[in-house]
Amino acid sequence: VTSHAYVGRSVPRIDGLDKITGAARFVDDLEFGPDLLHAEVVASPHAHARILAIDTYQAEHVPGVVKVVTGKDFQRPFGLYMQDRHVFAQDRVRFVGEQVAAVIARTHRAAVRAARLVEVAYEPLPAVLDVAAALCDDAVRLHPDLGDYPHVPWFFPRAGTNIAHWRKLRKGDVEAGFAAADVVLEDTYTVPRYAHAALEPHAVVARMDHAGRLTVWSASQSPYTQRNLFAEALDLPHQQIRVVTPYVGGGFGGKAGVTMEILGAALATTVRGHPVKVHWSREQEFTNTYQRQGLVASLEVGARRDGTITALRHVLHWDAGAYVEYGANVVNAAGISATGPYRIANVHLDSVCCYTNLPPGGPYRGFGYSEFTFGLESHLDRLARQLGMDPVELRRRNAIAEGDELPYGARMNPSGLMEAIDRAAAAIDWGTEEPAPAPNVRVGKGFATFWKAPAMPPNAGSAAFLKFNEDASINITVSGMEIGQGYLTAMAQIAAEVLGVPPEKIRVETPDTDRNAYEWQTVASHVTWGCGNAVLAAAEQARTSILDTVHRVHGFAVTDLFLEDEHIRCRTDPAFAVPLRDLVIGGLEDPTDGTFKGGPVVGAGSFMPEFASTRSDPETGQGGKPNVHYTVGAAGIVLEVDVETGKVHVRKVALAVDAGKAINPAAVEGQITGGILQGLATVLYEDLRFDDAGRMLNPTFTDYKIPTALDVPDEVIPLIVEVPQPDGPFGARGIGEHTMIPAAPLVANAIEDAVGIRITAMPITAERLFLALEEEAEEPTTAS
């Protein structure tokens, strides 16, 4: 085992001081001076309607109003993976809350007042509010031009339908697999929509200066992707756009890609010289950003008596909303991985992206895996029961291992899945019964495994610039985003390890596309891996130049030189030590003639996986290597059910995840503690509700309940497994999203263990469980 000075240690966050002193600046905290303008949007009250006319006259005459902008001013389509949306609705609106126009005014109050006076004449159309309605033969088509939309080559839209993408995967012979099974279990599981509910609402300020240059300050996980899409939507050259992203107050996928930020960028082009701010209210945050997509999942799994899974059929119908330019890739990701981390010879997956007249679906921590894992891991528990087998044993029996064939034909990466299963099971004393604390309480245990791969284009890249300062401190500029996960600190630790400089002397700057190196996006739990590799390369380049300078001046072989404690040292001459600060800016003096060698030390690094490919057979999904690797894990829970109220109390939850190498173990534990609670919230407390006209019923924190400090498990046990990822920095792979994936089936499985009731629809609120308990008491079911 190699010992490291800085990697693998729980050093304090390098952004910690900013955040506890109030020094951290978020977009809305930035000052723009007296010429700042404010914009408010005019939102559609209809889920689906044709726009007949827009009358802006009254709004334009409100004092303080500068301009009213509508869809006719911006007609170019844009989108991340499919160009299916516009800055403003064009001929029709497709969800309640969609922006139809915007008012720009000198004050926010004037903009709000005037926005209410914009008169839009609509002709309502039938609204498609769920996947069943979307798939009806006579369903109204949300996007009649679907067949003409440009999209990435791995999408398969069905023109003339509401199916924006259909990912098929066929492996082996499922019919033969089911025929060979001793038990076959079928059921359907439903998952509603969810909100990210980051505490910072989306915000953007943009200014096009009088020279025509557009600068956008946005609360974003994706500065470079935003720049790219702004260029596409506004027809501007890339070097004329600068995107600056200060600290972001939580993302969870909700600030990936482009949502409302396009409004700031577009509006700025209409009021040259003026910065324009768009700041979402909490209600807009709920109604007009990405939401986690709803899912109806039909599962059929067959197994032999010994527990071997012989076949799996998993049909996923996604309620993807009005625009799927990002969400269709969630559908795709699930459609090639909805087997879970199991070795299954015969697989049939259909993952179908359905347009609906609800807010656009998009990325949310877990990226489709949280959604399908609810059904899959619930189902495997029930299958184990039918087989008379221990559910954990069933998972061990089928657990995928390094080298096994993945659903799409490539091979599984090194993985600590078995260790994760063993440790999570041990942490909750799996197999032992725990006493109930009161007569009205039942105690249950649940178990689930999980896996997830980064879902990225095959050529998603990361880059890093590094420079030394006079005192041997370092600035690193990257364009991954610190969204709370501890990314800046992890990058500092990687550079620290290579250069022998402590992390607290390394600043890692938040993105500015004029200055910082490229990053595709901070999504997919890939930046520790991808950008970490870029930082590693930049640091190694800087180290090489330092050692070369010492070699040229002092003659030591480069292979004998090393960096440690801010010094250059030599293995063959223990007395030799040059402080880095004596070299990194002014170079090293040649003792023979007084000249200096070297110069300011910099490094640049770049990383892109060169082995990924999305080329596969559209009918079978076989071929290519769409995923760079999977991160795996397992989790166990102990909970109490109050049978008089249906209320669930989580005593203990243990989650083991294979980080490959934890660059900062405390940060990994922080992801586990936070992620598991976010996951538990999706099953115990939260869901987005809509009425039969597509209006959201609970767009506030009063009615969309995210957990408070009183709603946490008694105990969270984070377990870090480290089976190195060969192509990761120091063996690391990402774990951020994974920590919320197993939560829902954990709870469902433990509830069945506690009270014998299987619930197949999320969320399992106290109300739903109470009603199920009542029903059970009235007519005890004999079904399993």
Partner: protein
């Protein structure tokens, strides 16, 4: 109609003219330039805009600026004259926050707790910050930091934000 008011903000005196409808949150952020109280929900649900008003934590999005006339406002910028409070120090060491958007509000709520209850239980801490939402951390490291600060407090109590 504009109203002349005086706020004391982190020890400085601010004579201001405000409209009756101006929220304390807006005035602090846009007129005084103190940015740590954050807008998060505009209806008192999230606690991101928490400030101490005469030593008591309030949601500055639910208080009109005119209501705060003559009172003492403390935000995290003004908690310590120099350096960090013991609580902030533990928050730093334990990396209590992730994105940090909720941090100013939670630090103030916890400061108020410790001023009135030097030896809180875990439940006391959870209860004290239950009006401040955090979406990142699962709360555990925050609660741990508050308990750590309480456990090691010197006999002289923090000022609890009261100058």
């Amino acid at each position: 109609v504009r109203h002349a008011i005086t706020l004391r903000v982190n020890g400085e005196t601010w004579p201001l003219e405000v409209e009756a409808a101006d929220l304390l949150l807006e005035v602090l952020r846009e007129r005084v330039g103190v940015k740590s109280p954050k807008p998060g929900c505009e209806r008192g649900d999230c606690g991101s805009c928490t400030v101490l008003l005469d030593g008591r934590s309030v949601r500055s999005c639910l208080i009109l600026a005119v209501e705060a006339d003559g009172q003492e406002v403390v935000t995290v910028e003004g908690l310590a004259d120099d350096g960090l409070t013991a609580l902030q120090q533990r928050m730093l060491e334990l990396s209590a926050f992730q994105c940090g958007y909720c941090a100013p509000g939670i630090i103030l709520a916890a400061t108020e707790l410790l001023a009135g209850n030097p030896r809180p239980s875990r439940h006391d801490v959870q209860h004290a910050i239950a009006g401040n939402l955090c979406r990142c951390t699962g709360y555990q490291p925050i609660v741990d930091a508050v308990l750590a600060a309480a456990a090691e407090r010197a006999p002289a109590p923090d000022r609890g934000g009261v100058r």
